[in-house]
Symmetry: C2
Subunit: 300 residues, 2 copies
């Protein structure tokens, strides 16, 4: 595994791979903000299986953080990241500085509307412009055949899929399942912020999301299910709900009111953002119709 810190080095390595790989194998790409956990490792392993070269980027992208967000204290551990990366099968790690990625005042923004209107897009203004812009930059730098993203950030995948289609970026976006701790907590670099009590109470998120499946089976409507989720999460003392929403996926529009979810033919996303102390956690459950108009099943 090789570590590079400049765009020109990275391009040289990838060009060399493409020109010497006699089997014409593909380049897989896993963009991250580092502080890697098992969720990231699962993306790297999948990429290593499906491609001849797996590129990992580790870059805490300042332009996707709002002024009052956790850019400065976002956790970093380069040494451990490299260990996770090599064990998971990365071939090339790109760790640029902020100046390497933004060498001068940036005047260009990739802006995505509609799929960013709700969920994290509504509560973090400008966040997805920052994501779309840096992902476009990284795609142009790496020029991967496939890029791997975790479904924990389901809206992020919806944004990136739509952006790559709208801009004709020649890359296949591969959504990968959420990886959870043994007790159900969705893995996140931000989990490290949680106190023991917050960590314990945060289990309400995955627990209530899995109960939502039963409620759909009982024939409940979206607003009833959202109300039950809010009740259940709100009953936990340290939880501060930012949003709980049920939307179609990947277009992220609200579902028809009053209709039992079980009869809706679209894929559905039940998504939530909840603060525990200063730590903002997100989690979700993606449900796809087994057949149109029929029962929904959870994405694995």
């Amino acid at each position: 595994m090789k570590v590079v810190r400049t765009i020109s080095e990275l391009r040289r390595e990838i060009t060399a791979f493409r020109s010497t790989d006699a089997e014409g194998r593909a380049v897989g790409f896993v963009p991250t903000m580092g502080y890697l956990h098992e969720g990231h490792a699962s993306l790297l392993r999948r990429s290593a299986q499906e491609n001849g070269l797996t590129v990992l980027s580790v870059f805490v992208n300042p332009i996707q953080f709002g002024p009052n967000e956790d850019l400065d204290k976002y956790p970093r551990n380069e040494e451990r990241d490299l260990q996770v990366a090599v064990e998971a099968g990365a071939d090339l790690v790109f760790m640029p500085s902020v100046v390497e990625m933004y060498p001068r005042p940036r005047v260009t923004t990739v802006a995505v509307t509609e799929v960013t209107d709700r969920l994290c897009g509504a509560s973090r203004p400008g966040h997805f412009d920052g994501v779309a812009t840096v992902v476009t930059k990284l795609f142009n730098i790496v020029q991967p055949d496939r890029a791997y993203f975790g479904l924990k950030d389901a809206q992020q995948i919806a944004v990136i899929e739509r952006m790559t289609q709208d801009l004709n970026i020649p890359v296949e976006i591969v959504p990968c399942p959420i990886v959870r701790e043994a007790d159900g907590l969705a893995m996140s670099s931000r989990n490290v912020y949680l106190s023991a009590a917050e960590r314990e109470q945060a289990l309400v998120l995955s627990r209530s999301l899995s109960r939502a499946g039963e409620w759909i089976g009982e024939g409940l409507t979206a607003d009833r299910i959202v109300a039950r989720l809010k009740d259940e999460i709100g009953s936990v003392p340290l939880a501060n709900i930012e949003y709980v929403e049920i939307l179609t996926y990947p277009n992220l529009v609200p579902v028809a009111e009053g209709q039992p979810l079980i009869h809706i033919g679209d894929s559905l996303l039940i998504a939530l953002a909840v603060r525990f102390g200063n730590t903002r956690l997100i989690d979700n459950r993606l449900l796809i119709p087994k057949e149109v108009g029929a029962e929904l099943c959870s994405v694995k």
Copy 2:
């Protein structure tokens, strides 16, 4: 020369070229809105000289036209375009439909600020977002090594150069000199709209721009030169001035007031937009310092 109308056909052709071109020659790209004239032909000839494959696109991009602009009556002549293209050395012509380029409601925009604040960016709100978005799409579709643009749209080149840098698009932007009719009128697809009287009076644009060179030599400041240009153009009965500005190039910021232009070390753009009847014409003169702090000379 081959004509293709779909993105997938175009990609197939370019991939085939890249995989069979033993000399590893480059792909050159000339994006246009068609109704080709000698200016476009000069771009194609230059690309054909410098690359193994020259791709021309002909696409009247609806999203760069404002609601009251000339999208519907923008001149088109496919047959003549193909003749100009083959004579100038194009190898592959991409003529997509609007649906091929925008198959569903677009939610992604590439937006460029600052260099779009003045000139055509100020008088045509949204225009450069439309240009930046379609050029990003075309770059992703063609993946050229070099792309050729005419300096008549000097601000467009500044926008595209800045955008490709900010987004790390791996393409070299090649600016090419303005091509003029024998009497000095800058070539433009829109010249076809001009009545005989308008066509005659429009010569004031190139005539006054070339006099601006003398005025710089006389030690005049930007505001004095702008005033003289406006006087000269305004003296022509059919001319309606939209803007006359002198800015640094390529950053497009106003020059220091009160300083004779001849002593300014930056490259300078003298740019104007003037309406004759319903037809909006632009023209400009780009002056680069022969040496820093010394006399300016015109870009040829």
